[in-house]
Symmetry: C2
């Protein structure tokens, strides 16, 4: 039976980190809310009992339901034998994936620093300030961190030639940053050579190449986590 | 050999989630930066190579170094046989711990909505708005989520009578919320009966009772994640 992924159908968002890894790894899945709609997602999520997910994405594998992007990736990686084969290393890969989770939350908060449930237009002043701090302080800290980690095994991926869930996620982060902060990313080009090499290498993974060329791959858009607002990308 | 915990010595912060679980479980550890100082922590963290932690806390267990609070708790729980004994359940406990990570980040951002590296006084207006949204929208969502999860096995803990890392962390969350938002928490008293029962039960765990009575337990303070500012706690 194939995996069932549940995520908002209209944005790449956090669901895309799961999709990319499954596509790269050739795992079969159904993207249920895209077959149906957002209402079906809300209904399904609320009908679940016990230790249920706080928010999408979540993965259903027969009678196991798992929320939290990083945890879904850990689960798939473990179950399908797509990790490093070494426990300590797998833990460190999860650590890096959780660092990505933190960064993604900070990306979201550049345009929603006050309230995720309110419009961008209602929090633009705070967004301007937060985005400035993000570009000048937080983002380079994160990217240097990932760039250094990529040097550990010589690249292009975290473990060297073998890709893991961390690499497909970092690809999505770099693509998202190029979409949201094109001016900043152009100015900083060359600052994170290992990340740039990773970004160039992930599309060569067979499953990723096919995926990126398909209609399943969703474009970034202004409802997602990575959004482009010119005023948040000033230098 | 005992575990080495590295965390900022002057605040309970995220380190306290690790401490509480180790104390509850009777695990031996050294709290290195409290024996030494914050400079020693910064120096140690920067001297680490490979897939190093992005930020404290991190745990050193001989040649394994692990960052990210939730992951440290997973590691300890697995290694010491303190989980549920069932893989699917352990994953769901980690899922809940990651939900706690998300909540803790949102607590932090109530007083630092613009820039974690700048003073509260420089972002008070945004903080006022963000804290209002947090109290009215985000916090109840999280607490209802945890309260419902606690009903799964009849309480007082997530698995029933046996505590896990999720329970000690939720205790710390509730204590922190009482410190930071006393007015709000008093007004809402009774809204989350299962969480309140958990908060009352965790101090009865033998290791926790001894810990809370010791000098190792740090008070909440105005440099930490949970801070009390009257203006952020208005009704």
């Amino acid at each position: 039976m194939s995996y069932q992924l549940w995520y908002w159908p209209s944005i790449p968002g956090r669901g895309e980190f799961v999709r990319l890894f499954m596509e790269a790894s050739g795992l079969e899945y159904r993207d249920i809310a895209r077959e149906q709609d957002a209402d079906a997602l809300v209904e399904d999520m609320h009908a679940r009992t016990g230790f249920r997910p706080f928010a999408p994405p979540y993965l259903v594998d027969e009678d196991v339901t798992i929320g939290q992007t990083a945890l879904i990736l850990l689960y798939l990686s473990d179950k399908e034998g797509l990790g490093s084969g070494d426990l300590a290393t797998d833990l460190q890969l999860l650590q890096l994936q959780l660092d990505i989770t933190d960064l993604v939350k900070e990306v979201h908060d550049t345009h929603h620093p006050i309230a995720s449930g309110r419009y961008y237009a209602d929090q633009m002043d705070a967004a301007y300030e937060r985005a400035e701090n993000f570009r000048e302080d937080r983002l380079p800290k994160f990217l240097i961190h990932f760039d250094n980690a990529l040097a550990t095994n010589g690249g292009p991926f975290m473990l060297g030639e073998q890709f893991t869930h961390v690499d497909t996620s970092l690809f999505q982060v770099m693509e998202g940053l190029d979409y949201a902060f094109p001016n900043y990313m152009r100015t900083m080009q060359g600052s994170w050579p290992n990340l740039e090499a990773l970004q160039a290498s992930v599309p060569d993974i067979e499953g990723v190449a096919a995926y990126l060329a398909s209609e399943r791959r969703m474009e970034f858009n202004q409802d997602g986590i990575f959004r482009h607002y010119e005023e948040l990308d000033e230098q």
